[in-house]
């Protein structure tokens, strides 16, 4: 894998910020060379780069070619990362709120002197077919999909998009986890 990387760099401009293109037949003639196996090597960049030309983002229709499109993609990825952090916090608070269903199991146990004592067990949980659990499941699926999207975005190795993911995660944590920390403080420290 490493040798193909070096071969690719030999006919590409080292100072270029363009990532190796995915569609060789459609690029300019500067990439023309005798090798017919050019489509097989370096389909994905494997090191970080800063650039906004011909950046494929997640879906086959989404290709970034201009600085304006990169700015729009930056904002969109930023908001997606913020939404992911918010979804995590929202699911936690939803779980805490829905765990109000407490089941008591009472069973008689023999006590001293032959008396019968009632032992009470308390269990906190959700029923499988209850609405809160179904909602949690749907939100879990959404969270898993968004987390994989963020991973794939980071996998483009594009410096701008990676910074957008990190900044969005930090801002989302800052905005949403502050509320969560205050709520936790209420239940644990202020009686």
């Amino acid at each position: 894998m490493d040798h193909s990387h070096h071969m690719e760099m030999s006919y590409m401009d080292h100072n270029s910020t363009m990532p190796p293109s995915h569609h060789h037949p459609t690029t300019s003639a500067s990439h023309s060379h005798g090798g017919g196996d050019s489509n097989m090597m370096m389909m994905m960049p494997m090191t970080f780069y800063f650039g906004f030309k011909n950046v494929q983002l997640l879906f086959s229709g989404l290709v970034i070619n201009t600085a304006g499109e990169m700015a729009g993609a930056f904002v969109a990825v930023f908001l997606l990362a913020m939404f992911y952090e918010g979804l995590k916090i929202a699911r936690e608070s939803l779980l805490r709120k829905s765990q109000v269903s407490i089941r008591y199991n009472s069973m008689p146990v023999p006590g001293p002197n032959g008396t019968i004592l009632m032992e009470t067990h308390k269990t906190v949980g959700q029923q499988m077919l209850s609405f809160p659990h179904l909602l949690q499941t749907v939100l879990h699926i959404i969270q898993v999909v968004i987390s994989y999207f963020l991973m794939l975005i980071f996998m483009t190795y594009n410096g701008y998009l990676c910074i957008a993911v990190a900044a969005g995660a930090g801002t989302g944590y800052f905005l949403f986890s502050w509320k969560k920390a205050v709520v936790v403080d209420i239940t644990e420290h202020c009686h």
Partner: protein, 144 residues
């Protein structure tokens, strides 16, 4: 596409253009760096939780009650400067926590990309680093 299966190899390019490994010595050093990165990741996870707990313990107990009362619109007059000072401290601390969170997210993604190189030595370094980091850090969590 680059090789999509695990290989044992002494050559790899990790994350950045300048981090290219050619020799067994370089590979051993890279595995050590990735191992320490995984240890740091586990440590940061525990450190964030401990920091939050320490802040909640050290700040005045009913800061959140006053915060809730203020957000209800019936804000008390600005006579309580100690309250605003502790609010300020709380916001600073939470901002610091957010920065730690960003570092944790970035390190997590870097480790993911390192594993994506499909080099078996690097992968074993990540796994070992996660195990060592978890082993060292998580007992500190239960003390709190």
């Amino acid at each position: 596409m680059a090789s999509m299966h695990f290989i044992f190899s002494d050559t790899v390019v990790l994350l950045f253009d300048f981090w290219s490994v050619h020799s067994p010595a370089g590979m051993a050093l890279s595995v050590l760096v990735v191992l320490l990165l995984a240890v740091l990741y586990e440590g940061i996870k525990v450190g964030k939780a401990k920091l939050l707990h320490q802040v909640l313990v050290n700040l005045p107990t009913c800061i959140s009650q006053q915060a809730i009362a203020e957000t209800d619109g019936e804000s008390a007059g600005s006579d309580s400067s100690p309250v605003s000072r502790t609010h300020h401290r709380w916001y600073l601390c939470h901002f610091g926590q957010s920065l730690i969170h960003v570092v944790q997210v970035v390190i997590g993604y870097f480790i993911m990309l390192a594993v994506m190189s499909y080099n078996t030595w690097i992968f074993l370094g990540v796994v070992l680093g996660s195990a060592v980091g978890y082993y060292l850090a998580y007992p500190l969590l239960s003390v709190a």
